[in-house]
Symmetry: C2
Subunit: 501 residues, 2 copies
C-alpha cells in the first residue's frame, strides 16, 4: 500500500485548496481522491446553448470579507474569473394576478421583520426555534395594527424570498437561523470553472478522479487506511471534505429506504465520535437549492430588473384570517390549511429568476428553486419541467414587457416576435448520491454551531473541511475554500513543528 | 424655604415623565422647575398656516422597542396622538443638474458602506475615530475598483443623508458613531403636544414655568438647595434633565465669547464630579438639527415620494480625483479643497425634505438641516431664508412634477397654477440658550458611553435624565422618557426601602 502524508477526500473547492496549500508548503506526499469524474464538487459549470452556467454555487458572497474574492482581485485581470454585482437595490416581485407589485414600505417591513427576528432570538439564547413560516405569520399577527391590508397580504410573499437563499421552503426552514447578514454586496461569478482550474491545475497529478472512498480505518500504529473502489492507501492525516449529507448517510448503521443512495457512504473505523455523530444526526440538516435554466433564441424582454421573484399565490381571505384571529396557534393551523404544501403548481411556491439579459446580455433566465420543489423538478423530464414553469415564466415575461413564449425544445421554429424557448438545463443536486442536496441548511431546532465545533475539533488526525465546517462563509464557496486552508495549515504546522507525532 | 422630596429641573419629556411617575407612586412632595414658558423642551409643536408642526423631535423611532409608543398604543385611539410610518423604501435623491437620480445599486452600496464601517470599528475597539467625511472618501477610494463612475460620483451624495439624522455635517460628525441601527420602522408623530399634555396634565400643579435654576448646592445635612431667579428650595433628591449643552456651559469656569448664552448656566456646589466633567468637556458634543417649514397655498406636486433628499453639488472631476489618487491623505486634502465648507448656498450641503402632501395631505414641506447650516439659517430673516432655499426648493418641486413656486410671504397673490409659498417657519434651537442645539451628537474622538455611564452613576442624590443620559434611545424622545422613568424608579426605590438615608 502506498503511504502518504495526507489524503484529501473530495475535490471540491475545499479539498482542492487544502491539497494545493499542502503541496505549496512542500508536502508533496499528498493525494486527493474524488468520486466524480470532475473536480469542483458543488461548484459545477455547464455548457448550455447560450453560454456557460454555474449550476451549483455561482456567487462571490460577502465581497467585503471574502478571501477567495480578494485573492482573485490580486491577480492580473486575464487570470481571474469575471464577475458582476447582481444584488438589486429592490426586489422585483411578480404576483400571479397583479403582475409587478409596487407596495409601499414592503422593503421597510422586510427590514423590520429581520430586526424583529434578531431581537427575538438575541435577547435570550433559550428562545424556542420555530419554522420560518411560523415566524412570518406571527409577525403579521402581532404587528397587524401597523400594517395596511395590502402590506399584510403581500409581506409574506416577499419574506419567502429567504427560501431561495437556503434552498428550503418556509415550513422546513429554521426561523432562528434564517437571517442572512452579508458583508457587502454579492457578485455573480462568470464562471467558477476558471477559479477551479487555477487552484487545481498546479496539483493535477495529485488528483484521482472517478474513485470512491468506502472506508477510513485508523490502524493501531496511528496511521489511517483509506479503502476505495480501486485500491487501498495509507496516510498520516486524512482530510474529509465530503458534504454533510454524505457524513449523515455514513452515520446510518442499517439499511433503509435511502439505501439506494448509500453508494457514497463511507465507513469509519472507529465510528465518528459522539459529538460529530450527535450533531450530524440531530442538529444539522441539508437543503436542495435547485436551478433550472431557460435558454431563449434572443432577448425580447426588458433588461431593467436583474432579479425577479415570482411570489406564491395567497388565499383571498388571508388578510381577513389574520385580522380576525384570536390566537396564534389557531391562526397557524388555519393558514397552513389555506396554503397547502404543494409542488405541483409553480404558483404555490416562490421562485427567484436571474435575468441574465441584464447581467451578461444572454437570452437566458436562471430559476432558483427550493426543497421540496427541487426534488420534484429534478425527477421530471425536460418537457415536464417546461410545463411546470410555463405559468410563472409567462407572467415573468409579461412583467418584463414581452408576450408569452413559444416552446421549441426540438429547435424547429426559426423566427418569431415572441421569445422562443430553445433549451432547458436542470440541476441534479438532490438525486446525485455524492451531494444529496445543494448545501447544508437549518431546520427548526438545528444548531449549526454544534456541528462546526465538533468537525473543527476533528478526530485526531482525521480532519474535516467543507462549507458545513465553518461559520463565516457557511454554505459559500469561499467558506469551503477557507476551511480547506484551515485544515492544510493545521497539518503543515503539526508536520513542521513535529508537535503531533 | 419649602422642603421637597424631589425637585425635577426641566419640563422636557424626561422631566415630565419623572415627575409623573414620582407622583403616581405616592411621592407628592415634588416640583418640576422649567425655565421656558411651556413644557416639552426640545419637543415643541407650533401652529402654522396649514396646520401644526413639531419643530423639534417629531418621530417615534424604533417602533419595535419604543416604550412610549407602546404605551400610546395601549390607549384608546381617541386618547393617543396619531402617527404615520413615513420611512421610505428607497431615498428619492434630487441632484442640482440631473434632477431625480436613479443610480443602479446605490442603496446596496450604502448598505455595503454601513457594513464596512461596522467591520472597521467592531473588529477592534481601538481603531482611531475619523470624521464621517473621511470615512466616505476612504470607502470610495478603497473600493473604487468595484464602483462604476456613476456610483462613485453619486455615492457620497447619498451617504451624506446621515447628516440629517445627526444634525451635524460630515466634517464634524464622528465616523465611528455615525451608524444608526433602527429597531423597526420610524413613525412621524401627529403631534407630540398631545402626548406631552397626557403626561403633564395630571401633574400640572407641580410644574413651575418661566423659572430658571441658577444654583444647585449640596448642604452639609445632605439636602440640596436649589436657587432660581424666583426663590430658593430645599430637596432630598434633585433630577437634572437640562440638555447636555447646558451642562457643558455649566462646566465653564470663566467668562468667554459664549457668555451671552450663559443665561441657562447652572452653578453646581460642589462642582460636577471628575467623570462627568471630563466626559462633558472632552467626550461629548452637541448638534443642531434645524427645521424649516415651507407652507404653500395648495398641493400642486406629486404625493409619490414622502422623503426627498436634495444632494450636495459634486465637483465635476470628483471621479477622476479618486481614480487617479495615489494615497488617501493627499486625496482627502484635494477633495476638501473641492468641497469647501460653505453654508451660503443651498446646494453645498444635503437637505432632507418631508413631503407632507403624502403623509398628511398638507401643502407643506419640512426641511431638515444640519450644523453649521442650522446656525446660519437660524440667524436669517424669513426673506433671507426663502432666498437661500429657493434653488433647492424649485428643483425639488420640478422633480415632483411641478413648476417653480411663487414667493408670496405677504399673502397678496390669490391664485396661481404654480405653488404659492405663503409662509415659512424656522426653528431656533441653536440660538435658544436653553437648548443651544437640537440634541447630543458625536464628533470624531467623542465617546458617548463615558458620559452615559457618568450621568447614570450621578452624584449622590443629584441625578440626571434626558436623551443624553441613555444609550438605547439616545437622542430620541422615547429615550428621554425612559431616562425619566429610570430616575423616578431609582428614587422611589430609595425612598420606599429607606436604603439611602
Amino acid at each position: 500500500m502506498t503511504d502518504y502524508s495526507v489524503i484529501v477526500i473530495g475535490a471540491g473547492i475545499s479539498g482542492l485548496k487544502a491539497t494545493s496549500d499542502l503541496v505549496k508548503s512542500g508536502i508533496e506526499s499528498v493525494i486527493c481522491i474524488e468520486s466524480r469524474d470532475r473536480v469542483g464538487g458543488r461548484l459545477n459549470t455547464r455548457q448550455g446553448r447560450n453560454g456557460k452556467y454555474d449550476i451549483g454555487g455561482s456567487w462571490h458572497h460577502d465581497t467585503l470579507s471574502n478571501g477567495l474574492f480578494m485573492e482573485e482581485m490580486s491577480l492580473p485581470e486575464s487570470e481571474r474569473a469575471g464577475f458582476v454585482f447582481d444584488d438589486e437595490d429592490r426586489a422585483c416581485l411578480v404576483d400571479k394576478k397583479l403582475g409587478v407589485l409596487e407596495v409601499d414600505q414592503l422593503e421597510c417591513l422586510a427590514y423590520e421583520f429581520e430586526k424583529w427576528v434578531e431581537m427575538r432570538y438575541y435577547d435570550s439564547l433559550d428562545v424556542e426555534d420555530v419554522s420560518y413560516f411560523q415566524l412570518c405569520i406571527e409577525f403579521c399577527f402581532s404587528r397587524k395594527e401597523f400594517l395596511t391590508d395590502e402590506q399584510l397580504y403581500h409581506l409574506p410573499q416577499l419574506l419567502r424570498y429567504m427560501e431561495l437563499w437556503h434552498g428550503v421552503d418556509w415550513y422546513a426552514l429554521s426561523g432562528k437561523w434564517s437571517g442572512i447578514e452579508h458583508n457587502g454586496r454579492n457578485a455573480l461569478v462568470l464562471h467558477y470553472d476558471k477559479i477551479l482550474a487555477r487552484i487545481s491545475n498546479p496539483v493535477k497529478d495529485k488528483i484521482h478522479l472517478s474513485e470512491s472512498v468506502n472506508l477510513i480505518k485508523k490502524l493501531s500504529n496511528g496511521k489511517y487506511q483509506v479503502n476505495t473502489d480501486k485500491g487501498k492507501y495509507l496516510c498520516d492525516y486524512c482530510i474529509v471534505t465530503v458534504p454533510q449529507s454524505v457524513l449523515a448517510i455514513s452515520c446510518e448503521q442499517e439499511e433503509n429506504e435511502f439505501s439506494h443512495m448509500r453508494k457514497a457512504r463511507i465507513g469509519f473505523e472507529p465510528p465518528l465520535n459522539g459529538d460529530i455523530f450527535e450533531a450530524i444526526t440531530t442538529k444539522a440538516s441539508f437543503g436542495s437549492l435547485g436551478k433550472v435554466i431557460f435558454e431563449f433564441d434572443s432577448i425580447k424582454w426588458s433588461k431593467t430588473s436583474g432579479r425577479i421573484l415570482t411570489v406564491h399565490e395567497q388565499p383571498t381571505d388571508f388578510v381577513e384570517s389574520i385580522r380576525s384571529a384570536k390566537d396564534l396557534k389557531t391562526l397557524l393551523k388555519d393558514i397552513e390549511q389555506k396554503l397547502p404544501r404543494s409542488h405541483e403548481d409553480s404558483w404555490k411556491n416562490p421562485t427567484c429568476f436571474l435575468n441574465l439579459a441584464k447581467h451578461t446580455d444572454t437570452a437566458s433566465f436562471v430559476a432558483l428553486i427550493q426543497q421540496p420543489v427541487t426534488e420534484y423538478i429534478e425527477t421530471l423530464t425536460t418537457e415536464e419541467v417546461e410545463e411546470f414553469f410555463r405559468p410563472v415564466l409567462n407572467k415573468l415575461l409579461n412583467s418584463l414587457g414581452s408576450s408569452d413564449y413559444i416552446s421549441d425544445l426540438n429547435d424547429e421554429v426559426k423566427e418569431s416576435k415572441t421569445p422562443i424557448l430553445k433549451n432547458i438545463l436542470t440541476s441534479n443536486w438532490s438525486s446525485d448520491p455524492f451531494s444529496l442536496g445543494a448545501y447544508s441548511a437549518c431546520q427548526p431546532g438545528d444548531d449549526p454551531m454544534d456541528l462546526v465545533i465538533a468537525l473543527n475539533v476533528g478526530q485526531g488526525n482525521l480532519r474535516f473541511a467543507g462549507e458545513h465546517t465553518i461559520m463565516d462563509g457557511a454554505g459559500c464557496a469561499y467558506g469551503a475554500w477557507e476551511s480547506g486552508k484551515r485544515e492544510a495549515n493545521y497539518i503543515i504546522e503539526k508536520l513542521f513543528t513535529g508537535s503531533d507525532y
